[in-house]
Amino acid sequence: MIINILFYLFSGILLLSSLMVILVQNSIYSVLFLVLSFISSAGILFLLKCEFLALMFIVIYVGAIAVLFLFVVMMLDVKTVSSKKDTLKYFPFGALIGGVFLTEILMVVGETFKSNPYENTFLGNFHFNWYERMDTFTEIQAIGQVVYTEYVLQFLIAGNVLLLATIAAVVLTLNTGVDSDKKQVIFRQLSRTYKNVLIV
């Protein structure tokens, strides 16, 4: 029961936030809505018992990619242009594409869930798996058991690669008190005028 309510909650948030991503004028807000949609889809994945995938969604999409987008958007300083008048122009094309995708998804769902016995009830996903109650482990446990036994050497090498990457990042960015020639001299920067600049 509670799982179903949570499912509808998360999917509602997901639909709304992904709609807001394209409707909102300010691009920073739109990126933040993108983050919200990632988080809510991670919640749905949690409910479907794909814990590893959900955590990867949060770590990779929210932690890395969306923050990268945010930085890019903040740096680019995109001017907000009101696109209201274009909405009507692009509507037929967008509706066509959207319709095609909607039919595809409906067809896939119709094909896959044909034999679902709970099809006609409201609490369709509510069923009780006794096997799960008795003997189960989560996805992360299963992955961990494979990684720490069968692929232990590969796991160690991957750890070494990460250690190397950390050392490399420190080496390439740490300034060890040596005067490098790539320093910015603010006085020289400010005293540049149009006349003494070499134009290529």
């Binding site: 050497l153 590969q154 050392i167």
Partner: protein, 511 residues
């Protein structure tokens, strides 16, 4: 499948385990030392610690008992046969020499960060793992480990624009070739459902060179065979990128010139053998049935790289870029042996690579040791004229250099001649007459630039030569050792032939 965990009985990867663990300890040690006092110069001590660690792991490799009955370990991801054993020993001793030789250069260039040594050790760890990897996943991870270290080594001198440029170029080309490798492996996995070299061989046991593939068998279809060939080409291209062989060589001159000479020294000499071992494992051990399809591409790159290597070197005025083109043509000769596909060819490939690596070691050490005085710019590269009249200013070093250059060029009494002629003989034995003829002609052309170097060393019409910094006792002992190794190999090449014969036999034992 029996699932194995990392137990102490997995003594097979003890050298790698030791190297990795001591790397972690070295990182901790150096970090605490560096925090304690600001700008403390610990480069030398770290270098000697690194040499000690490398030496001990070489001893561990040598003490490995090679169990012939059971070769693969850790769920068949690691194989420990004579191939990995001998190539690990060669790589270990090469990197030991490299580390000891680059010490005066590092001090002269004021590369004082201790991480330089750690990066080299990481690269050696990756090469060790690459030599003994028995599936595509381990091989990929090992390649990534070594090439990530190389990218940073290339861009280590942050104050030099050339070095940073070289690092970025190396990174982009390396990432591109790694992605090709991944694409090829995913195709192979998609068709066969496995990534293990041994299982590939067992699966494709019906496919042998010259066989018409029986498509009526239910388990292998015509489409599958095509996809396997397609994936193999991608893997081949990515590994040729790493070796800088001709159609994929364009990054090499820029990267080798731009990066600090010690780094160039390291990645021009050491990693080639490990990548050839991986090539042997994939193409000879697992996919020898597709010999006819992949040989075609290898022959094309042989021809191109031999031509590019010998004609490209003619115009060079910098010593580094001359050596780059020389290495391109030498990789071409090694690839001739690879494309012949007989037992002798594998033997000659190993011989050629060992001799190439040791002569490269000698040439590059002399490159690093002749540090010109009054070099106000502290420039990393050397013109050819920087070595002018070395025969008068440093008589012994000039003799060493001349001998090694004769050997590299392939003059009759030297060991370089013996391995080169045997490579051409294997090509002729497997009826590749045109390629043998072409590469012999190109090698004659390539001899020109080695002879020109010797002429600059002795017979240049200038009155005064250059002044060099004195060479340390340690480096001079090492370089004399290398020279005597060359003389010994020329007097008694049988020892190398015996080792390489065992190398080729154990690889073919599995076929």
């Amino acid at each position: 499948m029996r699932i194995e965990t990392l137990l102490f009985k997995e003594i097979v990867i003890l050298p790698e385990l030791f190297l990795g663990l001591s790397l972690v300890y070295l990182v901790l040690h150096c970090t605490f030392l560096a925090v304690k006092k600001k700008n403390l110069l610990i480069q030398d001590s770290v270098l000697y610690l690194g040499v000690l660690v490398l030496f001990l792991s070489c001893v561990l490799v040598m003490n490995d008992c090679l169990d012939v009955l059971e070769l693969s370990f850790l769920n068949d991801t690691i194989v420990n046969d004579y191939v990995s054993f001998s190539s690990k020993i060669v790589i270990g001793s090469l990197s030991l020499f490299c580390l000891l030789m680059m010490q005066p250069y590092l001090a002269g260039q004021k590369i004082n960060q201790f991480e330089y040594i750690l990066l080299i050790l990481f690269a050696v760890l990756g090469l060790f793992l690459l030599c003994s990897s028995n599936d595509l996943l381990t091989a990929y991870l090992a390649i990534e480990l070594q090439s990530l270290a190389f990218y940073v080594l290339a861009s280590f001198k942050k104050t030099s624009t050339y070095s940073v440029d070289a690092g970025i170029k190396y990174f982009i080309m390396g990432a591109f070739s790694s992605s090709l490798f991944l694409f090829g492996s995913s195709l192979l996995y998609g068709v066969t459902g496995t990534i293990n070299f041994e299982e590939f061989r067992d699966l494709l046991i019906n496919v042998y060179p010259g066989s018409t593939i029986n498509t009526t068998l239910p388990d292998i279809s015509f489409f599958d065979v095509g996809l396997i060939k397609f994936g193999l080409i991608f893997i081949l291209i990515s590994l040729l990128f790493k070796l800088a062989i001709a159609p994929f060589h364009t990054w090499a001159p820029d990267v080798y010139e731009g990066s600090p000479s010690a780094s160039t020294f390291f990645f021009a000499v050491v990693p080639k053998l490990a990548i050839f071992v991986l090539l042997l494992r994939i193409f000879y051990y697992s996919f020898f049935g597709f010999f006819e399809s992949w040989r075609y591409f290898i022959v094309i790159s042989v021809i191109l790289s031999v031509i590019v290597g010998s004609f490209g070197g003619l115009e060079q005025r910098k010593l580094k870029s001359l050596l780059v083109y020389s290495s391109i043509s030498h990789m071409g000769y090694a690839l001739i042996a690879f494309s012949a596909g007989t037992l002798e060819s594998v033997q000659m490939l190993f011989c050629y690579l060992v001799v190439y690596s040791f002569s490269g070691l000698c040439v590059w050490s002399i490159f690093l040791l002749t540090r010109v005085k009054n070099n106000s710019l502290q420039k990393q590269n050397k013109d050819l004229t920087d070595l002018v009249l070395l025969g008068k200013s440093n008589y012994m070093l000039a003799i060493f250099f001349t001998t090694v250059l004769f050997s590299v060029a392939g003059f009759p009494p030297m060991i370089g001649f013996l391995v080169k002629i045997s490579v051409f003989l294997t090509a002729i034995e497997s009826s590749m007459y045109f390629i043998a003829l072409l590469s012999i002609l190109c090698s004659v052309i390539g001899t020109f630039y080695y002879i020109r170097l010797i002429k600059i060393l002795y017979f240049e019409k200038v009155l005064v030569g250059k002044l060099y910094h004195p060479i340390k006792l340690q480096s001079s002992v090492l370089i004399s050792l290398l020279f005597f190794l060359f003389l010994f190999l020329f007097i008694n090449p049988t020892i190398l032939y015996l080792f390489s014969y065992k190398f080729s036999l154990l690889l073919s034992l599995a076929v």
